[in-house]
């Protein structure tokens, strides 16, 4: 018997794992991310993410700039949702300096945030589909069409398509122009139709279901323990949205729901994003109805000098909780600014999500987390 068993182990097909370096330049690492993947055939045995290929030292640069001059830097963090980053930063500075923002300014911010959320989720879903291998990018291009419409609106209010530099401490840099509201109204009216179209293209697609269901599961406990946030956390079944849990701006005046997933797999993350788009449209509708008149920005001195102290302000960006920990020493520049990165922390559990799956699933799972390297590496 003994000889038999030893024979059978000898007969077992031994494969040797090998290391595959994905990135820093890889078509679907969403920038310059690198994963050192240990593969056994196509199966992932181990994964180690390597960061820093886009580390630009934003936190250090912020120490040399005035509070206003930091805003353009925040644009370049989560470059798919710059408005939300602006908002997170100005909110923490307002908290630090105790500044009250006029109501109209708050509403404009909310509208921009929600438009940004729709646009960012469109991109997240589009690139996710890309990572799943829509080889000629059709879903991405369809979603880019809607994103362009949103970018048109952003361009209308602040003149840029990607790096808006729109929000200011105390409000926004300029009130929305007259033609903005009709366009927004039209967009909100049309958008559900397009989302329905994406649903038709994707929701029941058997290949998509097979590729995403049950893949890259992030269990609820791990999601909380690993400080995940945003759609990644909610897909794991945690009803945690800072807009509800810790309402900022005027979010407590809107009626909306926080969609959650059940399992925490790639499919849930994708569904949560689609459902959040619907909720964003709801918020936009209400914000349009309640839109008040008045000033868009508080009157403030050109150079802020907040009192000595520190503040942590956070908002719910499309990727998750983004917070700015700002320390002031009563000078015109922040003494220390730390960015709480949503996507970097969402990546914490990446290894647990992909071990045992195929190479293709690594890419898909990674895509479903929706990161922007600007903010992961800062």
């Amino acid at each position: 018997m003994e000889s038999m068993s030893s024979l059978s182990t000898d007969m077992e097909l031994k494969t040797e794992p090998f290391v595959l370096n994905m990135g820093p330049q890889h078509p679907s690492t969403h920038g310059v991310f690198r994963m050192r993947v240990l593969l056994d055939g196509e199966v992932v045995v181990d994964l180690e993410p390597i960061f820093g290929y886009l580390h630009r030292g934003i936190e250090k640069l912020a120490e040399t700039r005035t509070y206003t001059q930091v805003i353009p830097l925040t644009d370049r963090l989560l470059y798919l949702s710059s408005m939300a980053c602006n908002h997170a930063y100005v909110r923490s500075v307002e908290k630090l300096a105790g500044i009250h923002v006029p109501e109209r300014g708050e509403y404009i911010r909310v509208i921009m945030d929600e438009l940004m959320r729709i646009s960012s989720h469109l991109m997240a879903v589009g690139f996710f589909l890309n990572d799943l291998g829509c080889s000629v990018y059709t879903p991405l291009l369809y979603m880019y069409r809607e994103r362009e419409k949103i970018l048109d609106m952003f361009e209308m209010v602040c003149g840029q398509r990607l790096t808006y530099n729109y929000m200011r401490v105390g409000g926004v840099s300029g009130d929305v122009p007259e033609e903005f509201m009709p366009v927004l109204k039209r967009f909100v009216a049309e958008m559900p139709h397009f989302i329905a179209e994406y649903e038709q293209l994707l929701a029941e697609n058997e290949i998509l279901l097979a590729r995403t269901k049950g893949v890259g599961v992030l269990p609820r406990e791990l999601a909380i323990n690993a400080s995940a946030s945003g759609p990644v956390l909610r897909a794991s079944g945690v009803k945690w949205d800072i807009r509800k849990a810790d309402p900022y701006s005027v979010y407590d005046r809107f009626d909306f729901e926080v969609p959650i997933g059940q399992v925490g797999d790639n499919y849930d993350r994708y569904r949560v994003r689609i459902m959040e788009m619907h909720q964003s449209l709801r918020i936009l509708e209400q914000a349009m109805r309640q839109f008040p008149a008045g000033e868009a920005c508080a009157k403030l001195p050109q150079l802020l000098r907040p009192a000595v102290g520190e503040a942590y302000g956070r908002v719910e960006t499309p990727q998750g909780e983004m917070g700015f920990y700002v320390v002031s020493d009563n000078s015109i520049a922040p003494y220390r600014m730390h960015i709480r990165p949503p996507a970097l922390l969402n990546l914490t559990a990446l290894k647990d999500m992909v071990v045992g799956w195929k190479v293709a699933d690594v890419i898909a799972t990674f895509g479903s987390i929706d990161i922007a390297m600007g903010e992961v590496d800062r």
Binding site: G52, Y53, M123
Partner: protein
């Protein structure tokens, strides 16, 4: 210029395949350039090659950090001649707003030769297309046995 060179340049002009490499924010505008609204495929650039071996044009789109610099140099070296480089956006041109940072390369031209600089942060898709058209003009003037 010989007529052979003309034919060659015509081919290269209308078939400048870009390398699908995105470094940072500008990559989003680069994708937007390829999207339906601006459609860079009209210029025959629809094949965003994933492998540098098959690409002609390296659009450096975004901030280049010192950590990434060896990789970019390597990618450039891997591209087959003739090859061109567009520095897209302030970060690629000069480091942009991050120029004084400890980890950012102040200008991609310190690592690889650049043919066209497209300013903007990030440049609009039209601006990038304009840069590409300037590159086309440069390609058209190429001599037959030119080494660059």
């Amino acid at each position: 210029m010989s007529s052979i060179a003309k034919v060659l340049n015509w081919g290269r002009h209308y078939s400048t395949w870009p390398f699908g490499s995105g470094l940072a924010c500008c990559a989003m505008e680069m994708v937007a350039t390829a999207s339906s609204r601006f459609d860079i495929t009209r210029f025959g650039m629809d094949v965003f090659r994933a492998s540098p071996r098959q690409a002609d044009l390296f659009i450096v789109s975004g901030t280049l950090t010192w950590k990434m610099a060896p990789a970019v140099k390597m990618l450039y070296d891997q591209m087959a001649e003739p090859k061109w480089v567009i520095a897209m956006g302030a970060c690629a041109i000069s480091g942009g707003t991050f120029a004084h940072s400890y980890s950012v390369v102040p200008g991609v031209n310190r690592i690889i030769p650049v043919d066209v600089y497209v300013p903007g942060c990030p440049p609009r898709p039209e601006a990038l297309i304009y840069g590409v058209m300037m590159l086309h003009k440069k390609i058209d003037k190429r001599k037959f046995r030119q080494q660059d």
